[in-house]
Symmetry: C2
Subunit: 343 residues, 2 copies
């Protein structure tokens, strides 16, 4: 039973959720512009079923603004290191605000250089990566997004959390909807293990290790241990390479030194990396891609269908734009209280 | 029992293997320079224990040269599309020859642009990615290498092989040896499944699907079906994104249209992509990385150690440089015959 099952559900429109978040963030010191950018990303999380990256993040964000470890109304500082390489110092602004600034810069550069990269430091949690790479795809670019996070994942063979959940975002334009990958390099989210623990249920083998580094099916042992990387040693190698690639290029922290997306009182020390490549416009190349995607989608069996990354989230988003978003009732009340009576 | 177990083993020095391969390739029409570049990459495969990318590839390469679907002594054609973006038409040259040309170009561009990308089409099989990204790391760059291959992997939920094994190579300089990731996005190599089938042994669940798209432990059903992606749907998403990213940017083929690395009579239609980013030189950043890597390596338990990607292959390579490389006796005889009596 997750929170929604325990507390009951309220169904709200995306507009209604958006307005509430803007209201709360403004009351805690965000400018209207910044609050809107942050709210958009959080609502996208809930629309796509990634509730761990939605409304649930508001209390921490509000507190961070109040505690002045996250800023609003500050202008990020852009510097260049080559014709295709920019760095953005976010000056501790909200993640989506700094990321928008970074990607605005990136796409201009990528257009002329043929590929470009922007690294981002001193910036808040960016949230889901899908909306960023989708934006890049919508504007005609193959987009890559990488970000680090607090260490929650055990290295393969190890006992303690030493690597972030380090997600990968990839957006690729097609003649139809873009292909959108947005996946963590952890086997599962921390929230999911906590849900199982709250229910007293066992978790599947492969999700987590206990304090001694052994794979465990006990959700209690898992919540005292660390999450496993997805896909065993390969997922570990990939997550670690992202940790170091992002850490080095953004000059931000590594491993257990990464802070500031889950807590309410330390500056953010994680980094974000965005890469854009102008997508080919040749009709024959794009037709070839369309044919390939059609072949893949027709490969399903009686047991199920073959999906292209992004298909499921897009379908859910469309439904929720029409029918509203189911949200945890207690969480909704908590955020409403934050807007009306503050903390 | 793999081939070496069945046929017995011969132990040869890397120099001896290198000389034999050069000899065979020259006898089949390669220039000395091209034969040396190709031999170096193949020997690296055997030195690092990746025998599927070693000597075993020589008969197909020799036949491809003889059949004129792979060329030698041709000059790749480089074109530019922006200050940071080059494309190399390999004119059907040997993979390592074209890749060297491409990376030479790439590193010059990356140095001034801050990041650069080179796409490669009409080029032979590149072999293991590790030596390429390791070279980039040795020259002070964070290196990425992606390549497509014949469709051997089933999409998640599908029945037929529709996606290549699409490996990812990542090299990152450190104060010590570079971090080197070289991993296929397939759960396992086709060769490994064939080894199990030859022994009449079951394979672990998760390696492959049968003709109906069901996961199977039967190595016979698996060899008639397709390999599974590593790490379930996430590995599928990643492998597919690489297929399309490489296919689009190199204007090469997708899915079952990819040919020319396993057969002996069609031009290559796969693509390669290399990206380089100058690595930071700041002592404090590099010290931070060293500390992090030391922390990771000390995280092992009594059951085993935590490795950094590249550690295992580097250790094996050092041993084999000293003690020689164990190779399948029958394969060694086959290649020796190719050098002396031809086909």
């Amino acid at each position: 039973m997750n929170d929604q099952d325990r507390h009951g559900t309220v169904v709200v429109s995306s507009r209604c959720e958006f307005d509430l978040i803007v209201d709360v963030l403004e009351k805690h010191g965000a400018t209207n512009n910044d609050a809107q950018l942050q709210a958009t990303i959080l609502v996208e999380g809930d629309l796509r079923g990634q509730h761990s990256h939605g409304l649930r993040r508001v209390p921490v964000l509000a507190k961070r603004l109040k505690n002045k470890v996250t800023a609003s109304g500050v202008e990020p500082v852009v510097s260049y290191a080559g014709s295709a390489r920019a760095h953005v110092d976010g000056r501790h602004g909200l993640g989506p605000v700094v990321a928008k600034h970074a990607i605005d810069t990136l796409l201009v550069t990528a257009k002329s250089a043929g590929i470009a990269m922007v690294s981002v430091a001193n910036s808040g949690h960016v949230g889901m990566l899908a909306p960023y790479v989708e934006r890049m795809a919508d504007e005609g670019f193959i987009g890559l997004a990488l970000t680090t996070s607090e260490a929650l994942v055990a290295p393969w063979g190890g006992t303690r959390a030493m690597v972030g959940t380090n997600p990968i975002g990839i957006g690729i334009p097609t003649e139809g909807a873009p292909l959108v990958v947005d996946m963590s390099t952890a086997a599962v989210s921390a929230g999911k293990i906590l849900d199982y623990a709250a229910r007293g249920q066992d978790i599947p083998l492969g999700w987590a290790v206990d304090n001694y580094g052994n794979q465990t099916t006990s959700s209690v042992e898992a919540s005292q241990g660390a999450i496993a990387p997805f896909g065993g040693p390969k997922g570990y190698a990939l997550g670690l390479a992202i940790e170091i690639l992002v850490g080095l290029t953004t000059a931000s922290s590594l491993g257990r030194e990464v802070h500031g997306t889950l807590d309410t009182d330390t500056f953010s020390t994680k980094g974000d990396l965005f890469i854009a490549i102008p997508s080919p416009e040749s009709p024959s190349i794009l037709n070839g891609l369309t044919t390939y995607l059609e072949q893949l989608r027709s490969e399903g069996t009686e047991h199920g269908s073959v999906l292209i990354p992004g298909d499921r989230a897009r379908k859910l988003r469309e439904e929720r734009m029409k029918d509203g978003i189911p949200l945890d009732k207690q969480l909704w009340k908590q955020i409403t209280d934050l807007a009306t009576i503050g903390e």
